[in-house]
Symmetry: C2
Subunit: 351 residues, 2 copies
């Protein structure tokens, strides 16, 4: 097996370039990948200074930086020499196998569409993330933010990509596919989910029906599809509730010396619980449906989160996830039986 070459956006995220470079150093020599740090050479080399000669790490200059708050498409257009665009172009030219960033999500998606394009047959790429469910189960949620408005065919395609991903990356046989809705009965939902329900019922996927928000942490499904607006709201609500609860717990622990002692005893367990919901432990979100491997970490990523994102990218390359997505793009038209033409060739939801 050839060594995967991964481009890391050294300028991406709230803690760049310090944490991305530190994450790359954690990964170097451990993950068995060739790392290309893209960004302002001077800033990157200042971070690397004193760490000795690093094998398997090289730097590629990109003078521009797209900031976290910039408007995605405008930033991509006006900064063709940004680390995001330069890095993705390396993947496009075949000089690298994957791109990893903790930078501006919207700009990364826009630049990926522009440089890599879509997988043939896929109408819309989706942002897919792994949600840590109970008992160590993993559930892939998609779309969690790439498409605020979706048509039924898009969710139908997300379901196929998600199932193929879980099969390929985690060896899940016949992944259970769920549809996020507001009741288990097929009659519950909005116009979008009611239509998607019928499409998925007519598909060859292992469709288990509607899944509710309260069931997401139970690991009842291997893949749960939703539009990108809803997916983003779900992730951020989960984050907010977890913060609220840990904040209250922290306050409770501070109340009395006895509480403090009890808190110390439970602390390591509490940390484990927190880590389960922590972005840093999961290799960020993967943009599936673009014609290349693109992993997007949380803007707050620390070195550990970057390391895990690099690992996720490496595993995606090793497991041939891109080839799998290309196969999905080819197969969907033939598979879209229940789709009333939705999945038919020539109407793959592109717009």
């Amino acid at each position: 097996m050839t060594t995967p070459r991964i481009v890391l956006d050294a300028m991406g995220g709230d803690n760049a370039p310090g944490e991305p470079v530190a994450g790359a150093l954690m990964a170097a020599g451990v993950l068995g990948v060739e790392l290309i740090l893209v960004g302002r050479r001077e800033a990157i080399e200042a971070e690397l200074r004193g760490t000795g000669t690093i094998r398997d790490v090289r730097v590629v200059e990109a003078p521009d930086v797209i900031e976290m708050e910039e408007h995605p498409t405008e930033a991509v257009r006006s900064k063709p020499k940004s680390s995001i665009v330069v890095g993705l172009e390396m993947v496009k030219r075949g000089e690298a196998d994957a791109f990893v960033t903790a930078g501006n999500t919207g700009a990364t998606m826009a630049a990926a569409l522009l440089t890599l394009g879509r997988v043939r047959g896929i109408g819309r790429p989706a942002l897919a993330t792994i949600f840590p469910a109970a008992d160590g189960k993993l559930t892939m949620l998609l779309d969690v933010g790439a498409n605020a408005d979706c048509r039924p065919v898009h969710l139908f395609q997300f379901a196929h990509m998600g199932a193929a991903y879980m099969e390929r990356m985690f060896g899940v046989a016949r992944p259970r596919v769920g549809l996020l809705s507001i009741g288990e009965e097929e009659s519950k939902g909005n116009q979008l989910t009611l239509e998607v329900h019928q499409l998925l019922r007519g598909s060859r996927l292992n469709f288990i029906g509607n899944v509710e928000g309260k069931d997401l942490p139970k690991g009842m499904a291997d893949v749960v599809v939703m539009d990108g607006f809803t997916g983003n709201v779900v992730l951020k609500t989960a984050e907010g509730i977890a913060e609220l609860l840990f904040g209250e717990l922290r306050k409770a622990v501070e109340l009395t010396p006895w509480n403090k002692a009890a808190g110390l005893i439970l602390m390591s367990e509490l940390r484990k619980v927190k880590r389960r919901l922590d972005y840093a432990e999961y290799g960020g979100a993967q943009l599936v449906g673009v014609d290349g491997i693109v992993v997007i970490g949380h803007g707050r990523s620390n070195a550990r989160a970057i390391y895990n994102a690099l690992k996720a990218a490496r595993d995606a390359v090793h497991n041939g996830v891109l080839e799998t997505m290309r196969a999905v793009g080819k197969e969907i038209p033939a598979r879209g039986q229940g789709g009333a033409g939705e999945g038919a060739a020539g109407d793959n939801g592109e717009d």
Copy 2:
């Protein structure tokens, strides 16, 4: 002030008639209301037996029961003698001031529309709930499930109803109104929220802009509006995450005797944290925009939750919430300046 007369659906919820009756007994003589228990007289009286003579509580016979899993509109049509329909008809006839149930939410909404009708000028009633934010702050979320698909004018009206409610019920001056979306910038969102953002900006409300899921528990807004699909997903995701975290904590506490001791010390604090997110502590959801006071509790409501729902209904009657909503319905057309005709008389979103 006259004594509020509240009809309680004794047959509604997973624990009926036991818990509803127990909740009514908690409330009798304490809340200063006249209680009417509606449902199967025999079953209710069996629960009342041995409790002595209860002042201020009477029973009204309703032989039919709409079960939790029944199809809302079909159930309402086929069971005109159900406790839900009979109870709401008493409110319609002016024999009671409010209706409280922990039964089938969809059936209650359908029956309320059928019997009470909408407040004049309001296109769609919304299910509104109070979300417990940090530091004891309260945020009203609506719609959390009445309308899976909404048009911009509906959210515009929800915002006005929510603001009027918080002002009237909790004395909040110029309530801060937020719009749930997937980014703070006005350019972030789906088609619906982008349009609603503009409508709210042009309104006389104290609109603070978009609010993200992670900010909901921070109490940044007094009212946050959303479509009923998204609102339902938010509530259920919050419920699921809280269950996940407390489940993990319980496991952590069981691991060693030391952990167990520490858990015991922290237990009462943990319970307080849990209670903050507990339906039982908040008087259920109120259906605003129908022409009557209707409070819907969680299906799992225990006596305490029923008591709190009765209290919420009483406060709504005392504070003249219905009259406030009628005033909102009258004012919205004149107010809908930024609405490009959306709020104009004759187009109030009714359908």
